[in-house]
């Protein structure tokens, strides 16, 4: 309804003609694009022997990537049991382990940054800013090289311990996403109205008690969508394990592609699996957000911590965009950032709030 008609009037006759024209034009361009991709991967685009508009050019080329036997491996159960499912299992193992560890890391350092003691606050801040600012791939490479570091610095002979690919991936994902989550938690805690903390202390609760029974539970609840969004990032980033031969989903598909020489079908199916998983996770985030906003009494409103692209302010009424609920966390990866980048006005932490953040890969 109004979602579609906010930015423009109900189309009149001329506008309808124009819209139809645009539709036709788009269909035309999309067809050309699809045709180029189809012919290219069919190997009949550049090295064709027949004219462009002949049945031979457009027929499925048995040498090309659309040939039935390039797709047939995905109909065999052993492809799924031998490659895809173990790969998926490894991806989920790495992602789940890293998620839990990252949440713990985030809580420890997020709370650490709010500490009253400078000797906790400053190192926590430095650690969070450091791991947020460097690429995940570098962290993974470095973790893999730790045995060499031990040898170079402490003369521990190489081979005393080894870093498995799983450990390297999980370490990298934990440090990076944990730092991002630390900022999320900090913003969430800061967004709880200060009166609550004061009230808790006035009834004699210690600072630790206040933190764990009053502030953190509210911060976690209000930041849940941002946390889930970051976990989607984490899951997607686990695909970097491919680079260090961690047998995760993407690597399973490259192994299939090696065996069956069907790069394009493998890439398409691999992408579909990732999309299905991540979209379902994002739906969870949206559901959580709705549930939260429905409850209505959450005092740590994410909007307060959000600053910039706040979900629609109550009563103000924003522009609903198609397909998005107004209260949708909206920006996916960047949801986290938008929440952490802006300090709530009453933030009492003088530390730099705008460090390098950002989604991973």
């Amino acid at each position: 309804m109004s979602a579609q008609t906010v930015l423009f009037d109900v189309p009149g006759p001329r506008a309808r003609v124009r819209n139809t024209l645009y539709t036709v034009l788009t269909v035309f361009l999309a067809l050309i694009g699809t045709a180029v991709l189809y012919l290219g991967f069919n190997r009949t685009l550049s090295e064709r022997e027949s004219p462009l508009f002949s049945a031979q050019t457009w027929a499925v080329n048995p040498q090309g990537q659309w040939a039935a036997d390039k797709w047939e491996p995905f109909l065999r159960p052993d492809t799924w049991t031998g490659y895809v499912i173990p790969g998926l299992q490894n991806t989920l193992t790495a992602a789940l382990t890293a998620s839990v560890l990252a949440v713990v890391f985030g809580l420890v350092f997020g709370v650490g940054r709010l500490s009253e003691h400078w000797w906790i606050r400053v190192p926590s801040g430095a650690i969070v800013e450091f791991f947020r600012g460097i690429p995940l791939l570098m962290l993974i490479f470095f973790t893999m090289a730790l045995p060499i570091v031990a040898w170079q610095l402490f003369d521990i002979p190489t081979g005393t311990f080894q870093v498995s690919a799983l450990v390297a991936v999980v370490t990298g994902l934990t440090l990076y996403n944990g730092s991002v989550l630390a900022e999320v938690f900090r913003a969430g805690i800061n967004a709880v109205p200060p009166g609550q903390g004061e009230a808790a202390q006035s009834i004699g609760m210690t600072r630790t008690q206040t933190l764990w029974t009053i502030l953190i539970p509210q911060a976690v609840t209000s930041m849940m969508p941002a946390i889930v969004a970051q976990l989607v990032v984490l899951l997607k980033d686990s695909a970097l394990g491919y680079i260090i031969a961690f047998p995760e989903l993407l690597r399973s598909f490259t192994l299939i592609a090696t065996r069956e020489s069907n790069v394009i079908p493998a890439a398409i199916i691999c992408a579909l699996i990732y999309i299905v998983i991540n979209v379902s996770l994002s739906r969870v985030a949206i559901w959580l957000e709705r549930r939260n906003s429905g409850r209505g009494r959450s005092s740590a409103r994410p909007a307060a911590a959000n600053g910039a692209p706040a979900p629609v302010r109550e009563g103000a009424g924003g522009l609903p965009t198609p397909s998005g609920t107004a209260a949708e966390p909206g920006v996916g990866d960047t949801a986290t950032e938008s929440r952490t980048e802006e300090e709530p006005g009453d933030g009492d932490d003088p530390g730099p709030g705008k460090g390098p953040g950002g989604s991973g890969t």
């Binding site: 790969g87 193992t93 713990v104 961690f246 047998p247 020489s261």
Partner: protein, 281 residues
Amino acid sequence: MRARRINSALGGAAVLALALTACGTADVGGTGSGDDNGDGGDTITIGVKYDQPGLGLDEGGTPVGFDVDVATYIAEELGYSADQIEWTEAASANRESFLQQGTVDMIAATYSITDERRDVVDFAGPYYVAQQDILTQAGDSDINGPDDLEGKVLCSASGSRSAHNITEDMGIDAELREAGNYSECLELLNNGTVDAVTTDNTILAGFAAQNPDDFRMVNNPFGEERYGVGLPAGSTERCEEINEAITKMWEDGSATEYLNSAFGETDFAFEESTPELDACA
């Protein structure tokens, strides 16, 4: 109380994470190594490649290829039947640590004998002496040796020395395109994005054997890579047993048979004489 619920949820999640990590890594295409088959007898764990066609490629549960055949032959000579062998994927990066930690009993995974590696592990063999060679598209007759690569585009897998041997040590001015692994290189070669791929001729032939009509081995090899059987340090006795097995394997023609079944369809002119074995340390 809500706070307690969140705390215990976190605790539970942490336990879950630890449990997950303890489960370790699922085997992609593997046979579920690590646990005994339950047949009661001794088993031997052998590390091979799982992603190297012709040498060690996972085929829906068990690896196949020249390295695998050699390892099976050696294991049989050591007194293990084929079903007492447990296969494990040994990627290039973890071969030494697998041996040092006893994850595997031996490794046959395109494992070149070098002095640096001899410092940390023992080697039996070599069971085959591979050389560096060049693979081109089937229709390409311009490239017949490293010198012809001047001005051509050469693919190398990241972390590999092979391409640098040509561009730096031999001083040939070829452009490098780096790919994640050799199957990516073959894809690039097949599409004509690169003109040639260079690495050990066994590896090239293994890939070429998958599509024998598409690729051509230049067969102008240089350098040498002596593939040995990796053993934990201090395995002199087993090393000698393996050397005997390797000699026997070449004498009774099994080695040639294995090479033929792996690379017979290609134009790879593989070595057919017994390699000169090193003395066991």
